[in-house]
C-alpha cells in the first residue's frame, strides 16, 4: 500500500490513461483485479456478485480517474469505490430478500484453489469453521476484518475506505475480533 515505487508506478499509468493511453489502465486492472476481487468475495460472500462489483468498480474508476488526486494510494481509492458499489448491492439484496422472505446471507464455497489437498484434516476443518463464522458475522465487522487481517491495510487506509474516523476503526476492529472469536467458539461446539 505504502510502497513509494508502486505508488509512482501507479501514478504513471494513471497519467498515461488520463492522457488518452487507455491501454495503461489495463495494467492497473491486471495488477489489482485479484486483490480487489478477493476482498469483495469475502465482503459479499458471493463470487458472482463480487466479480460484477469489481468490474463496475474498475469502470467507475476509469470514468472518474481525473478526480483521483493521489493523496492516498490508488488501491485505497479503488477499494473505496468497490466497497461503495458492494454496499449498494447488499442493500438491494436485502430489499429483494425482504420480499422473498429468504435468508439474506449466502454461503460462500471454497475457491477452486482450496482448501489445498495437502492440508491436514485439522487445517481444512479450521477453514470450514472460519468460513461458517464469517458467514454469520455482520457486514461491517466482516468488512473491517477483511481490510485489516487479509488486506493488511493500516488504520488510515481503512478509515478512508469505510469513511470512518480512525477512533471508530479502532473500536470497531476490537468488537469485530471479539465477535469473530465468539462465533468461532459457537461453530466449533
Amino acid at each position: 500500500m505504502n510502497n513509494p515505487r508502486a505508488k509512482h508506478e501507479d501514478r504513471e499509468w494513471i497519467c498515461r490513461t488520463i492522457d488518452g493511453d487507455t491501454e495503461s489502465f489495463g495494467f492497473l486492472v491486471r495488477k489489482y483485479q485479484d486483490r480487489l476481487y478477493n476482498g469483495m468475495v469475502q465482503i459479499l460472500r458471493n463470487e458472482s456478485e463480487a466479480e460484477d462489483v469489481v468490474q463496475d468498480a474498475f469502470v467507475l474508476a476509469f470514468s472518474k480517474l481525473d478526480s483521483f488526486q493521489g493523496k492516498s494510494a490508488f488501491f485505497t481509492w479503488l477499494y473505496r469505490i468497490a466497497y461503495n458499489v458492494a454496499i449498494t448491492r447488499l442493500r438491494r439484496r436485502k430489499r429483494g430478500v425482504s420480499l422473498d422472505g429468504d435468508d439474506a446471507r449466502v454461503r460462500l464455497d471454497f475457491p477452486d484453489s482450496g482448501p489445498l489437498p495437502n492440508d491436514s484434516i485439522e487445517k481444512q476443518e479450521q477453514a470450514v469453521q472460519l468460513y461458517a463464522a464469517l458467514d454469520r458475522l455482520s457486514g461491517e465487522h466482516r468488512s473491517i476484518l477483511v481490510l485489516r487481517e487479509m488486506e493488511e491495510l493500516d488504520y488510515d487506509a481503512i478509515a478512508e475506505i469505510l469513511e470512518l474516523p480512525v477512533g471508530t476503526v479502532r473500536s470497531r476492529l476490537h468488537r469485530a475480533r471479539i465477535r469473530l472469536r465468539e462465533l468461532l467458539e459457537k461453530v466449533m461446539d
Binding site: Y37, S63, T168, R170, H174, R175, R177, I178, L184
Partner: protein, 341 residues
C-alpha cells in the same frame, strides 16, 4: 477477566473501557506511538488475561490470512475494457476534459477554503454575532472544508428526494412543546445506537434548525456541552458526537429528517447491540446535566418515508441481535463526521 471485553469486565467507566478497547486494538495492530505502547504494556503486565486475548486475536488473524484466495481469470481485464468501450466513457478523457475538470476542482476547493476562512473569521473575530450552537455547527463545516478529499464516485446517481422540512434558523416553529423526560419515567436501562452521518455540504442554518428542533445538543466525550473552541479542537480529530437519549422511533425521525436533506449523506449504520454492551461513557453525566434537553419527540415526517425504509433495511443488515429491537429508551451516540476522512 475473560477475553470478552464487551461484557463489562472493567471496573472503570464505560468511557475508560472504550479507551482501553481502542488502545489495546491499536497496540495489537502496531498503530500506537511509543508512549502509548508503554501504557498498554503496563496494562498487559498487570492483567495476563488481556495477553490471552491478544493471542486469540493473533490466532484468528493467522487463520484468516491462511484462507484460500479467490482470483479472476486472465480474460477479466478484457471484459472491463469491453465494458468501458460500451459505456463510451473513454471519450471523457480527452486532454481538454481533464484540464477542465482540474480547473473546476481548483475553483471548488478555493470556494471551500474561502468559506472556511469566513467561518473562522466569524467565530473568532465576531463571536458575539453567533450563538454557541452556531459556533459548533460552523466548526463542523470548517473541519469539512479543511480536510475534504475528492469524493469517490458512487454507483448510483443521487436520488431525487422530497423537499426537506427545514425550518429557517430563526423559525418560530414550536420546538417540541410538551416534552417529557421518558428516560426518567420508564427507568429502563438505555442501550446504545451508533450512527454515522457524513455531512457533505450541509447548510449551516439548515443543520442547525434540524438539531434545534429535535433538541439535540452536541456534547463532548464526557457529556459536557461544547463551546466552539473545544469543538474545533475535536473536529481536527475527525469526529464529533451528538449524544442524545430517546426512544428509537424518535431518534429515527430525527435521523430521517437530517438524512432527507439533500446535502447530507447517511451511511454506516451500527444498530443496537453494537454499543449496547459498552454503552457510552458520557451517558450518566449527560443525563444528569441535560436530561430535559436530551429528549426527542416523535414527529411525523411523511416525506422521509423512503429514506426511513432504506435506513431500516441497511440497519437490518448490519444489526447483530434481533432482540435489541424494540421501543425501549435507547441511548444514541450520533457521530457527525466530515466526508474527508
Amino acid at each position: 477477566m475473560t477475553g470478552n471485553l464487551n461484557e463489562g469486565d472493567f471496573d472503570e467507566s464505560n468511557f475508560e473501557r472504550l479507551k482501553v478497547e481502542r488502545l489495546l486494538t491499536a497496540y495489537f495492530d502496531n498503530e500506537l506511538e511509543p508512549a502509548e505502547r508503554g501504557e498498554v504494556e503496563t496494562m498487559l503486565a498487570e492483567n495476563p488475561d488481556l495477553r490471552g486475548l491478544l493471542d486469540q486475536w493473533q490466532s484468528s488473524g493467522d487463520s484468516l490470512r491462511r484462507l484460500p484466495t479467490y482470483s479472476l481469470g486472465a480474460e477479466f481485464s478484457a471484459g472491463v475494457r469491453s465494458k468501458i468501450d460500451t459505456a463510451a466513457v473513454a471519450k471523457q478523457h480527452s486532454p481538454a476534459a481533464v484540464v477542465s475538470t482540474w480547473d473546476s476542482q481548483r475553483v471548488g476547493m478555493g470556494g471551500i477554503v474561502a468559506l472556511a476562512a469566513l467561518l473562522l473569521l466569524t467565530l473568532f473575530v465576531f463571536p458575539s454575532l453567533v450563538e454557541d450552537r452556531l459556533d459548533q455547527q460552523a466548526a463542523l463545516v470548517v473541519k469539512e472544508a479543511v480536510d475534504r478529499e475528492s469524493k469517490v464516485p458512487s454507483e448510483t446517481p443521487p436520488k431525487e428526494r422530497p423537499k426537506p422540512i427545514i425550518a429557517p434558523r430563526n423559525s418560530s416553529l414550536p420546538r417540541n412543546p410538551g416534552r417529557s423526560p421518558r428516560m426518567a419515567s420508564t427507568g429502563k436501562k438505555s442501550r446504545g445506537v451508533e450512527q454515522v452521518l457524513l455531512i457533505q455540504n450541509a447548510a449551516l442554518s439548515d443543520l442547525e434548525a434540524i438539531l434545534n428542533r429535535h433538541e439535540i445538543h452536541i456534547v463532548d466525550s464526557k457529556g459536557k456541552t461544547l463551546d466552539g473552541e473545544n469543538l474545533l479542537a475535536q473536529a481536527k480529530q475527525g469526529m464529533e458526537a451528538i449524544h442524545v437519549v430517546s426512544e428509537k422511533a424518535s431518534m429515527q425521525n430525527a435521523i430521517n429528517e437530517i438524512a432527507d436533506h439533500e446535502s447530507v449523506t447517511v451511511t454506516a449504520f451500527t444498530m443496537p447491540g453494537q454499543l449496547g454492551s459498552r454503552a457510552i461513557g458520557n451517558s450518566k453525566s449527560a443525563k444528569t446535566e441535560e436530561s430535559s434537553a436530551l429528549q426527542l419527540q416523535p414527529r411525523d415526517f411523511s416525506g422521509a418515508a423512503e429514506t426511513a425504509r432504506e435506513i431500516n433495511e441497511l440497519n437490518d443488515w448490519f444489526k447483530l441481535d434481533d432482540e435489541e429491537q424494540g421501543g425501549e429508551p435507547i441511548e444514541c451516540l450520533l457521530l457527525i463526521q466530515s466526508l474527508s476522512q
